[in-house]
Symmetry: C2
């Protein structure tokens, strides 16, 4: 086993959809799911062979459950390619016409290349080996390539191929969405000319045009073949058949290159025209692969986090797989696009491509590896600030309120109804009351600025967002004269099991601790950001936002008086009244159901509700300890007139850990994190469990609907920050290593304020190195000691 390959031996139709999702290859612009060698070239869509991508980030309203939106739309499928030895049936792994002798699938993470090899025997007794390689080009984002080599092991004769581009694809990847509209593309144009074929489609709501052009290239080893291509077109579909003569023991290779363009692309004329021109110009598979591999190499230089020994190569491989999936969704190719981070990647249809708060688990990794990408993704939010202002305004608040779920125009897209697949019932979905998405955005802005010191970003985007978010918190907070406290009423925290009080008519909870504490934090950051600006920009912003001193005074006041609820025993309450809820019968339910991760669905199906119980889907209060260090939290609580001692934190962690079902893949990350210093062994166990979320599909079926990007990036970030104590703050890069017992050594390269620092941590020492020709100086803090650091220096600090 290597840390660089995900391998599957043997063909297992039951596992295909999961493997497809895990073996998707993408380049930050489009992604191609890693399905078995394409069996169908006919007009019907072969499930799972679609492309997802940038064009899909469209926006529509979702009116109740009537209208499916377009934010995740399959693109025309360019992968269909099949063959038949003369007189045989078209090759299809699932049809039974071919006996599968051998099957191997291997995702080469290092190269971003999916390899597949299958040996089959047909009804005529002919043995044929098919080897397929494919990639979405990391250096030329509009290009993809599929190479198929067919070897006639023990026969000779004519072999026919059939290739197609299929624009009649639909969104059928998520069973519970099948009731919704699934066809979003309208055919617009089809055509062919020699080895080139093409089609254009238009999305039916957002009216975006997608052009795809395919070029076929056929050769025996080094000798090109020029078969006669016979085309057939109908609306949204172009197919092509051709035949070549194969000698026994010889092989023929078909290269299928695609170029993909859409209306929103820059530096183009018309998408189809660009696709045709680019695919006609592009080089051969092997030639394209060289540059593709180089670009992946360079990415890995930035992103590799190596851990020795972990639990053997498994940990290393899964970490690399996670980085791979993150980068195929967003990477340098996404920087110049207007895209956010969809929770389920580019290629999963679940959540319809919507953007949630998952960024908070993803950006910290990016901040230290590819900060220009974080900036681009924060700019995505900045472009939608006016829509967030609108949402706040319509909800009766000031400032900006980012929506819980959003698509391309940044409007609120949270469905108002949600299907419970257990009961088949549609229930009201109140999750738009998760105002805490505003916290995630403020926190991400601040973290990016701390890591990069990017003044320009703060001046032209960051500070404005922080101010509008502060305004929102100041306006939603209501003063309670009796308590002399501010309260935030009627919201939902990250724990979606609780969306209201049992038997209350209106949804929403009061004084969610996470929300209130982080609202206070946000109210402090906005003035800090304003003060950090250069005077001319400060003046411009004050004028543009009509800021007044009194407003900042109010923020200061509220940030000192927000209420934080506690249980009598010193535990921070998830919200007002949490202590009054009933304890849940965990053992009983664990006996009754195989899997209680989604207790909400179970309870609702039973006519009950989790609102009655002390039971959480995922970390809620504990998010505080994930986002803020103990010291920072103590300061913040002190500012609020409360005490948050190590004891408070400890008790609170234990309390909630015992009452969480981990119904979200994000939960394991947070739990592993918050006990990283308190219980290293258990933290490591949680970490290893979190690593398995997608690769082992622990939620039973959700991975095939799309991998979970937040959890993927979060595991890598656990190594990067939790076990190293890495924390950039007020111009100092702090470390406070606490390696789990299972880890002997951890190594990574991080970017901090323009410099690249090599970091190596063992149980006994921390070593920071850099290139002597780099420039800049920084301060590095280890535990409580500050070290001045210059490029070329080797800083070694003993940890024993």
């Amino acid at each position: 086993m290597s840390v660089w390959t995900l391998t599957y031996d043997g063909y297992d139709p039951a596992q295909e959809r999961l493997r497809e999702a895990l073996c998707t290859v993408g380049n930050g612009y489009f992604a191609t799911r890693g399905a078995a060698p394409e069996s169908s070239a006919g007009p019907s869509h072969y499930p799972g062979t679609y492309l997802g991508g940038y064009f899909n980030r469209l926006c529509t309203e979702i009116a109740g459950r009537e209208v499916c939106n377009e934010s995740m739309v399959n693109m025309p499928n360019w992968l269909p390619l099949t063959f038949r030895p003369e007189g045989g049936e078209w090759f299809d792994l699932d049809s039974g016409a071919y006996e599968i002798l051998e099957y191997t699938q291997e995702l080469d993470l290092k190269k971003g290349l999916l390899n597949r090899r299958v040996q089959v025997r047909d009804a005529g007794g002919r043995t044929t080996t098919v080897a397929q390689r494919r990639f979405a080009h990391m250096g030329h984002r509009h290009l993809g390539a599929l190479e198929t080599t067919v070897l006639a092991e023990d026969w000779s004769g004519v072999i026919e191929f059939r290739s197609a581009i299929d624009g009649t694809v639909a969104n059928t990847g998520v069973n519970r969405y099948l009731e919704l509209d699934s066809v979003h593309l309208e055919p617009s144009e089809e055509g062919f000319d020699g080895a080139l074929s093409w089609l254009a489609v238009e999305t039916n709501q957002s009216r975006l045009r997608i052009g795809e052009a395919v070029r076929l290239r056929v050769h025996f080893e080094d000798e090109p073949v020029e078969p006669e291509f016979e085309y057939r077109t109908h609306a949204g579909h172009v197919s092509c058949e051709f035949a070549v003569e194969l000698a026994e023991g010889s092989a023929v290779t078909v290269e299928k290159m695609v170029a993909v363009f859409g209306s929103r692309d820059k530096a183009i004329s018309e998408p189809l025209e660009e696709a045709r021109v680019h695919v006609a110009r592009c080089r051969t598979f092997d030639e394209l692969l060289v540059y593709h591999t180089l670009v992946w190499d360079q990415l890995w230089r930035r992103f590799e986090t190596s851990v020795d020994p972990g639990d053997g190569d498994r940990v290393g491989m899964v970490l690399n797989l996670h980085v791979f999936h993150l980068l195929q969704t967003v990477c340098q190719n996404s920087i110049d696009l207007d895209v956010g981070v969809p929770a389920r990647g580019l290629h999963g249809e679940a959540y319809r491509g919507h953007v949630f708060w998952d960024e908070i688990f993803i950006f910290p990794l990016m901040d230290f590896r590819l900060p220009s990408l974080t900036r681009a993704l924060l700019t995505y939010r900045y472009r939608r600030l006016n829509e967030a202002r609108r949402l706040a305004y319509e909800a009766g608040y000031a400032g900006a309120l980012y929506p819980w779920q959003s698509g391309s125009n940044g409007a609120e897209e949270t469905p108002t109804y949600h299907l419970n697949p257990l009961s088949g019932e549609w229930k009201p979905d109140n999750s738009h009351l998760q105002r805490h998405v505003n916290i995630a955005i403020a926190h991400n802005i601040w973290s990016y600025y701390q890591t990069t010191a990017d003044e320009e970003f703060l001046a032209y985007q960051g500070a404005e967002m922080l101010v509008e978010i502060a305004r929102f918190w100041a306006s939603i907070a209501t003063y309670n004269r009796a308590l002399d406290r501010y309260e935030i009423l009627g919201v939902i925290g990250p724990d979606e099991y609780h969306d209201g009080y049992p038997d209350a008519e209106e949804p929403g909870l009061d004084n969610n601790a996470y929300t209130n504490v982080m609202a206070a934090w946000s109210l402090c950051r906005a003035p800090e950001a304003l003060d950090a600006l250069r005077p001319y920009r400060q003046r411009e912003l004050w004028e543009r936002l009509s800021l007044e001193r009194e407003e900042l005074e109010a923020w200061d006041d509220i940030s000192r008086k927000l209420k934080v609820p506690f249980h009598d025993d010193g535990v921070i309450s998830q919200f007002d009244g949490y202590a009054d809820l009933e304890e849940f019968n965990w053992d009983g339910y664990r006996q009754k159901y195989d899997d209680i991760q989604r207790l909400d669905r179970i309870l609702h199906a039973e006519g009950d509700t989790p609102n009655r119980y002390k039971v959480s889907k995922q970390a809620d209060v504990l998010m505080l300890f994930y986002l803020l260090s103990d010291e920072r939290l103590a300061e913040l609580f002190e500012r609020l007139g409360y005490e948050c001692t190590s004891e408070t934190i400890h008790t609170t962690i234990d309390y909630y850990l015992a009452r969480t079902s981990h119904g979200s893949t994000l939960s394991g990350i947070v739990h592993s994190w918050v006990i990283a210093r308190r219980d290293r062994g258990r933290s490591w166990e949680q970490f290893v469990e979190a690593l398995e979320s997608d690769i082992s599909d622990v939620q039973g079926g959700t991975t095939s609907e799309g991998i979970h990007l937040g959890a993927m990036a979060g595991t890598v970030d656990l190594l990067q920050r939790a076990y190293t104590g890495l924390n950039p703050r007020e111009g100092v890069l702090w470390f406070d290593p606490a390696l789990p017992d299972a880890v002997r050594e951890l190594e990574m390269t991080i970017r901090y304020r323009g410099m690249w620092l090599g970091v190596k941590i063992t149980r006994s020492s921390l070593v920071v190195t850099s290139d002597a020709t780099d420039s800049g100086v920084c301060q590095i803090g280890v535990h409580d000691t500050l070290h001045d650091y210059e490029p070329g220096q080797t800083l070694e600090v003993s940890l024993s």
Copy 2:
């Protein structure tokens, strides 16, 4: 007269097209030509009332002269609004039905607001006053507003209004293009609902969708009116009529707000839907105006250059007008768009919106005022680097060759034929041989970097472009063994009068001095840029570009051995063999023709060609003295093994000044610049003449086809850099003031490496100030003395 207003009194139909161009209001996203109050609301397009804008940056091929391209396409016109007192004719300034008693048009440069007031009497003897205000919102780039107030001076009764949105517009603004296709929009959708109406169109080649929605609001002073709107729609057109009752001496106001969106916009769903939503939400004219004015205010803080006394307010007003036109074409609203700087602004159809080399006259101003805009505009070039690589490849060269004319996909769009309006003949157009556009881009990259020290830009865009441009020069240069020199053969310099040798079969000239010297300069900058990168990025780039040491050695060699031709008398020759050309009979032609700016057309019409004569359209060799200081040039010539003394420069300037017709508005800028230190009086005269280029339409008709942005920005930059000696180089901000006698004092605020510096220059002193709370330090050099400078300091240097 104020420096902030351009005023016209009296209606003059003959002047209307010029005034329209000069009174255009835009916001960096779209522009609305400042035509007279709209007279027609019918389906026919009223010339001159169209919008130009971002959508227009489309790309097409221009196949000979058969196909007009789309890079400048009029957008649906939202301005039509007219009225009639009951029983009267529809108001039309030109129909003769209304006697014009009074007419004033005033462009408020400070506010970006066009005001118009007209008093008319109709056939029924009724006197009516119409006041109109309009703006393209500088703070909300999708919004425009037109307010029309009609006062019944001496009558009462019903007044009818007719308003429309017209998508049937065509490109008819340039007479000599009328043979070409002029209709580029296809109607797609029309609709209305109460006070809202809308339409969508699609461009017929690039398939971009444009959505426009209009909202009407009618009121008497403070009292809203809700008339009944009667709509009529047909393909590409929506019109609306309504009537209100007016008492004598009372006025009614109609506000017409528009929202404009297109396929390429970010953070949107479908353009028409966005337009409808945004116009429905937008506030009243007066409310929108407040923020619009604030944003213009902030822009003026950055861009105002005040000169006392100049030649009275005229100089100040024209300078402000020039800044105004520049900012309405590109400003902070353009930063997030993928746009270049079209030579004739957003609203002129001449040159079809193409991008040339004019940036070289525009970016230096931006570098010191709004550097993030320069960066965005250089990024526009970076996105088209692959296309430039392609162009070099197809022309048989290595590296990248930016096209002489380009549209949205960055391909070469230079027409291959050109119409001579004097003779009506189509002549081959060889101007694509102006390889020197590559110099402009390299120079702009380097200047931006020197002014801003923007490492990120250099690392991720700038250095790569510089390398590819160096590669191009290295590959086009051919070694001449006899001379032991490299030569660049078969190109054209900035002087377009010379596109080949008289009687030669192939076009192109050898060893254009400007090209060769600046190619050497470019070959030096690429390695310098690579060396300035941090080590990790250096490595990445060397790998990606497959750079080898040998290649850099070759650049070094070529940069020392490029040939520069001289006349025997020590004058730098424009190209090999220039000395052999005939002297031109200037006096004879000045007597024969009123205007000899476009001598090329005159000579061609006479069956002759400027290729035979020592006659230049515009600065060519002299560009060297414009781009490089005497010291730098001396160094560069020394490197090349030549001498460039003060005497050489002097003689060369005099030589070409006597042989130039100034057939380009850019010429005056360069000429004023190169003599700024040698003959201050004449330089100032040239400057004042250059100021008049557009406002007085000195080329007789070209301004109405679109203002000349390069010349506009160039005049402001003359004050900014030529007369101040401002020059950022190797970390020092140099000054070397040489105010013309006519100027007592010059004042401006410039941005340098993040700081804002107030600069005030009189004949006796230079004073630099800044805000004490700004951060950073820099070195300021005056003449030969270096001064360390910190924020808050007042640096005063005596110049006497």
